[in-house]
């Protein structure tokens, strides 16, 4: 049997969260204690101003990664809040012009639940279906748009399947009709080259812990163009252009900033590394019959996420049999929920196939040896669970 080093996990769940980069963690530590820059950046005294400058440097670092103006970035507590601010805040801002909104069935819960809240307020929402590899077709999207459509929200990289939507094409369609276009880029920022000067995107959500920054800090990009604005959803002290109140968590923000800067310099290497790992894992399990890749197997896929269903295998048992390989079944956010993934269901998978899905996701620290171990363990687990079930036929 393949053996893992004692007490070590093989962490292949980078899409759920990444560890904080060592440099980032060390940098953050300088903004916490008495010896560090701990003051409130809203304070007008010198240490407060020092903290405020650190916050603005971080804003510039993130702006550099996205190629936007620092002033167009709003700090939030993560992509969930950014999604809510963009979608609810954007719909409220545009609500007088129209009540129709469009999104996809395969969006993250933070997006879908925000739309559901808007429906309860009286907005109408169309949920566009993807094709069976997870992509939205431009014809289907166009057909969903109406005269009174005010906002479209479609994610960049899907968190379960890694599928990459054609954001540019979607954005162009929205621009033509003056529709606000929001992109949940939680799984893209820091991993995929993004130039928001070139992309027709109005609102973009991100969260630091998906690119080696800390959990609990994110940002919303709000394009500086007429008609593009959001109304606040939290109210208070007037920070962040009155769009997001609350004391700025300086250590979190500088952590995000540095993580963004580090990511900017490693985008290409990251893509290559992810591709190599993906191919290695696929090769390692290719001898198994009855496997199905969920998502797009062509170029429209982020190679760091690989979602595979194994026919005849139950998901929870597969997860346990894989230990110490740490992976996700469905989205981490739904991990406690035994329901089959709605994302995979939307791709046309039946319940059993969806339930047998395992999401492998790779990161900066993943090695070929780890992937080899995971592939071997996966094969072993599938063979064993199928043999336990064999007598049922």
């Amino acid at each position: 049997m393949v053996k893992a080093a004692a007490n070590r996990f093989i962490y292949l769940d980078y899409a759920a969260t990444t560890p904080v980069d060592l440099q980032v963690a060390e940098f953050m530590a300088g903004f916490l204690t008495r010896e560090g820059v701990f003051a409130n950046p809203s304070s007008i005294h010198a240490p407060g101003q020092q903290a405020a400058r650190a916050v603005e440097i971080a804003r510039e670092q993130l702006a550099g990664l996205l190629n936007v103006r620092p002033a167009d970035l709003i700090w939030t507590s993560g992509a969930t809040e950014s999604d809510n601010l963009a979608i609810i805040g954007g719909a409220h801002y545009r609500g007088r012009r129209g009540k129709h909104l469009v999104t996809m069935k395969t969006e993250h819960k933070a997006v879908l639940d925000a739309f559901a809240a808007l429906q309860r307020e009286g907005f109408e929402v169309s949920y566009v279906a993807p094709n069976e590899s997870g992509l939205v077709s431009m014809d289907v999207l166009r057909a969903a748009l109406r005269e009174d459509t005010q906002l479209v929200s479609i994610m960049y990289v899907n968190n379960e399947t890694g599928v990459v939507q054609d954001i540019e094409a979607i954005g162009n369609i929205c621009r033509e009709r003056d529709i606000l276009f929001h992109v949940d880029a939680a799984q893209a920022v820091g991993k995929v080259a993004l130039d928001l000067q070139a992309l027709p995107v109005d609102l973009l959500s991100l969260t630091a812990h998906k690119f080696y920054g800390p959990k609990g800090i994110g940002a919303l990009y709000v394009a500086n163009r007429p008609g593009c604005q959001v109304e606040p959803i939290l109210f208070g002290g007037g920070q962040e252009r009155r769009l997001r109140p609350g004391t700025l968590p300086v250590h979190q923000i500088v952590g995000l900033g540095l993580a963004a800067e580090l990511a900017a310099s490693s985008l290409q290497d990251n893509w290559l590394h992810m591709s190599k790992l993906r191919h290695r894992l696929l090769a390692g399990i290719s001898q198994l019959p009855g496997l199905l890749v969920n998502g797009d197997e062509s170029e429209r896929s982020y190679p760091g996420i690989l979602n595979i269903s194994a026919l005849g295998v139950e998901g929870e048992s597969l997860m346990l049999a894989l230990a110490p390989v740490c992976v996700a079944s469905g989205s981490a956010c739904n991990a406690k929920n035994a329901e089959p993934s709605y994302v995979l269901r939307a791709l046309g998978r039946d319940d059993a196939t969806a339930q047998s899905a395992i999401r492998f996701s790779f990161g900066r620290y993943t090695t070929l040896a780890e992937v080899d171990f995971a592939a071997a363990r996966y094969c072993e687990a599938i063979v064993s669970l199928r043999s336990i079930a064999k007598g049922l036929e």
């Binding site: 005849g312 139950e314 929870e316 048992s317 346990l320 049999a321 991990a335 406690k336 319940d351 059993a352 339930q355 043999s387 336990i388 079930a389 064999k390 007598g391 049922l392």
Partner: protein, 130 residues
């Protein structure tokens, strides 16, 4: 909140990772079996045994389901194998739920196992020839 449904106790881990009783019976002799299924796409199990008339001489299972379900089937086989047939009536399925710390929301699966056990008993009470 400390004990979450996703935690497995030692017994579950051991039974799940070494299910010695999964698989077919030794060929030969009459085969008694009980089968049950939780729901259309739910957990499924079949229990099989040989009997010498007094005892359950060999017991096996096949199962598709979560780790608790597979471990429970394994545990049940371990407990019943080599026992007098009368033990089948004594066997308390709730003890399995307790010993394996099966979360309440999975109670349905334990009842599925009980159904299979009842079916096995019914099968044993019917004369068989191989």
């Amino acid at each position: 909140m400390a004990d979450r449904d996703v935690a497995y106790n030692e017994r579950v881990l051991e039974c799940f990772s070494a299910p010695r009783h999964a698989g077919p019976l030794t060929p030969g002799g009459p085969v008694y079996s009980g089968r049950a299924q939780e729901s259309a796409a739910g957990a499924r199990v079949v229990l099989l045994c040989h009997s010498d008339g007094d005892h359950i001489s060999e017991m096996r299972f096949s199962a598709w389901g979560c780790p608790h379900f597979i471990a429970a089937a394994e545990w049940l086989c371990r407990e019943l194998e080599s026992q007098p047939l009368a033990q089948l009536n004594e066997f308390d399925i709730r003890s399995v739920q307790r010993l394996l710390a099966v979360p309440v929301e999975k109670t349905g699966r334990i009842l599925t196992l009980e159904d299979a056990l009842e079916a096995l008993k019914a099968s044993l009470s019917q004369p068989k020839t191989q």
